[in-house]
Symmetry: C2
Subunit: 237 residues, 2 copies
């Protein structure tokens, strides 16, 4: 499905399997980058996220996809990687009130650091990631100030930046968008949302993974589709 040519500038795109990173990947492609998809396996509990990331990378024409494992479980400290229950039906209490319990310490810093390494290897001077306004209301490492600081660091950290002064550009095309706007943008860009996965607590029904419809991620996703006047193509339990 690679539709890129060798003369195009290269971008590393963080692809999680979720809808936001899928839309960010489609953005990079539409902006004329040859895309190199990076999926960081950080101790997610559900292999279906990794499967979704591979499907998304293939469908959206990434030149290649690499999966890098980092065992952030060894650090503990989050409901997403610890063996703790994921908070549910608590949208009114949980979303938008300080740092959520699903926060993985320094997750975006770790992801971007690995993306920086990948960018060096493939000669990319751009990194795309799908963080957005919903995220940065709760997670400190999703805010624009953080992104600006990382871009500065990345330029100093790399051989290309250190030796030839080439800046490394960090693109977060969804950073000011709501979930509703992300859904609409994805539709414009031809993203097949049926390939993506958002649920923190999916359930196996036969051979298919169904989304729970109740965790924060499902609630945000469903609300985004509702607000956009569209139907989420995923199956819910």
């Amino acid at each position: 499905m690679d539709s890129s040519s060798s003369s195009e500038p290269r971008a590393v795109c963080l692809v999680s399997g979720g809808m936001d990173s899928a839309v960010a990947l489609a953005h990079a492609r539409a902006a004329g980058f040859a895309t190199f998809a990076l999926t960081v396996a950080y101790g997610q509990r559900h292999v279906c996220e990794l499967d979704a990331a591979a499907r998304v990378a293939r469908a959206l024409g990434a030149r290649e996809q690499r999966v890098v494992s980092v065992d952030l479980r060894a650090l503990g400290g989050s409901a997403l990687t610890d063996e703790l229950a994921v908070p549910k039906d608590r949208a009114g209490h949980e979303i938008g009130r300080g740092v959520p319990t699903t926060y993985v310490p320094a997750r975006n810093t770790v992801f971007l650091a690995i993306a920086l390494g990948y960018a060096e290897v493939v000669g990319a001077r751009a990194i795309f990631l799908g963080i957005n306004a919903i995220d940065y209301s709760g997670y400190p490492d999703c805010r624009p100030e953080f992104l600006a600081a990382f871009q500065k660091l990345a330029t100093l950290a790399t051989a290309a930046g250190a030796e030839r002064g080439e800046p490394l550009e960090l693109h977060a095309p969804l950073v000011l968008l709501s979930k509703r706007e992300i859904v609409l943008r994805g539709r414009e860009l031809g993203v097949d949302f049926a390939l993506t996965h958002s649920c923190y607590d999916p359930q196996l029904r036969g051979e298919r993974w169904l989304s729970c419809g109740r965790c924060d991620a499902c609630q945000l996703r469903l609300e985004g589709f509702r607000a956009a006047g569209l139907v989420d193509p995923l199956e819910y339990a």
Copy 2:
């Protein structure tokens, strides 16, 4: 061997098993920090580095040690993690001439990002690392500008920094030291260099790992001991 009390400030110390990080860990302890040793297993080819890291953390009184695996081999791009030969007997050609081939893309950025996550989990507001003048002559992500940029990023990236404005301090106590000075500093601080490991290409003799004495790491180490007028306690092949 934990000699720290609960009232001491906490520091995460990156401990690789090499002599530099051992001296940095001893520095943190001498400065009054309760130390939390972090070893990043990034696809090193030799388990003896990880063994050395555990020995060093224990001997120098770390409160705990965590080992986090990150598979940087999935990115390729370095003689240290690829299945390539390590450059040898090329000190005159290799050391101090631009970025060495043993450079692992974005390695320090990845290590510091993981250290930042660990610091958040244990409530540390300081990170120690053992990079030094020898390193930053060749590796872009060892330079003081890089460290300053990371400290700024780290403060913005964390919940404590974002919510309560608490800075995260990055300490690189060896940053201006030569290998000779590191050897002398380590001796002052009581570091047992026999516990450390530096060689990129060790050889198994019976049940003991011997250092090759020829790779860049061995040459720098041996030269440091020679210049300090001391004998390296390690066994060489």
